[in-house]
Symmetry: D2
Subunit: 135 residues, 4 copies
């Protein structure tokens, strides 16, 4: 088995979409991963703001990376997000998994997306953990 | 004011991220927009499946386009998605807003994401409608 | 094993809270249960409307009963609800599970809560299905 | 206008369903209300555990009371809950609003439901704030 705290970097290295997003790993502990990325012009929607899928994707990656630090392949089964603030090109966003509660087959998570100190999106998700180890 | 059924095409023409996703408009009625797109290799995650952000983004665009067919700028305030099936590069996805319930300032929506006839993701969302008209 | 369509009646007979709510079974098919109940004065909140927990509880029972018609004990792991209309004492509500998608260990569901023909609350939920049969 | 920290007690005094649940106010600050209640036999479901509507209702009351401490009538428009642990008759539950983010017309909230120190349910909700003052 891979060491748990190496799993996010390994995942990112094999993840084309998170790479396209420009996601960087800011910190990793078991059960708590922080990521960062900058909003680029090609990530905007018709209102000139970041598409809702951008902050969702960043949060979803932080959620997935965190859930996998417990060593088993974990699959998202439900996630929800509130878009609290409109985001602009150039904004630097961070996403931190602030709640990680593994329970047998399931895991419960909250991810906060921030711009500096400001909470701009709030994500809650549940994973299903398979038997498959990260190796 | 723009004619309601022209709003989605107008929005798409100004939406860089939906354009990057390769989203096409399949049909438009007031309160019901269908979109299609194909999963590409740069949209995959570390498990070789479409990143959760891809089907979310497709659904979110269908949701936003539908909510805006009522003529006012509508902003997403809450959305949730279940990822039911893993998706592969090459899969052609459709997203159709199957419930559209406008209520004063709010609108309630369901979007079904399908691969052929198969439901692969299920999205529910709420918008807040501003006073601003599409012109 | 109990016959699947008998499971909801069996569950209701052993469910003190659904009984307190006055829930009646209107129809049962595998994957589709409809329930009804009337809002009573003791179910109101401080604004004189049905407490959000009332329509949630009705929907949650319809969700649980439907998920269990597949024969295994099914447990709710996630649910969300939009409260669309304020409800009054005396209103008769129905809840019908309009989407039931069983997938291995998981099941995905939508429940519509109506007052007559009017959609008053919209519920989405996921269950985890155990190995335990209803007997 | 009523003093903000008196609003929850005022609301509870007029709320028949929260009274039926046996909800007590444990603490009140603007933006942070804690409630407690004990699970009773009439609150159980067919599996002999607290019905999902019970912990939802407790969390929903904590959410509503907190959102109203900002002085305007606030209405729930979306809420979701994860049921993490099965609850028994006799369990004493607390619900605390741990995130309260008021934004113009909207408010974003998280409520944690605990049994002692253990997180047993996790709730996220959004309110719409009207112009109407608590008087």
């Amino acid at each position: 088995m891979m060491e748990a705290t190496q799993i996010p970097q390994h995942m990112l290295s094999k993840d084309p979409f998170s790479t396209w997003l420009g996601i960087k790993i800011l910190s990793v502990e078991v059960g708590k991963v922080s990521l960062g990325m900058q909003v680029r012009p090609e990530m905007l929607n018709s209102m000139g703001k970041a598409h809702g899928g951008i902050s969702y994707s960043l949060a979803d990656t932080a959620f997935g990376f965190t859930a996998n630090t417990h060593g088993k392949y974990a699959l998202s089964i439900e996630s929800s997000i509130n878009h609290i603030e409109a985001l602009e090109a150039g904004d630097f966003l961070t996403a931190t998994c602030t709640l990680d509660l593994p329970k047998n087959r399931l895991g419960f998570h909250i991810v906060e997306v921030k711009r500096g100190e400001e909470l701009v999106a709030l994500f809650k998700g549940v994973v299903y953990r398979t038997n498959k180890d990260w190796v």
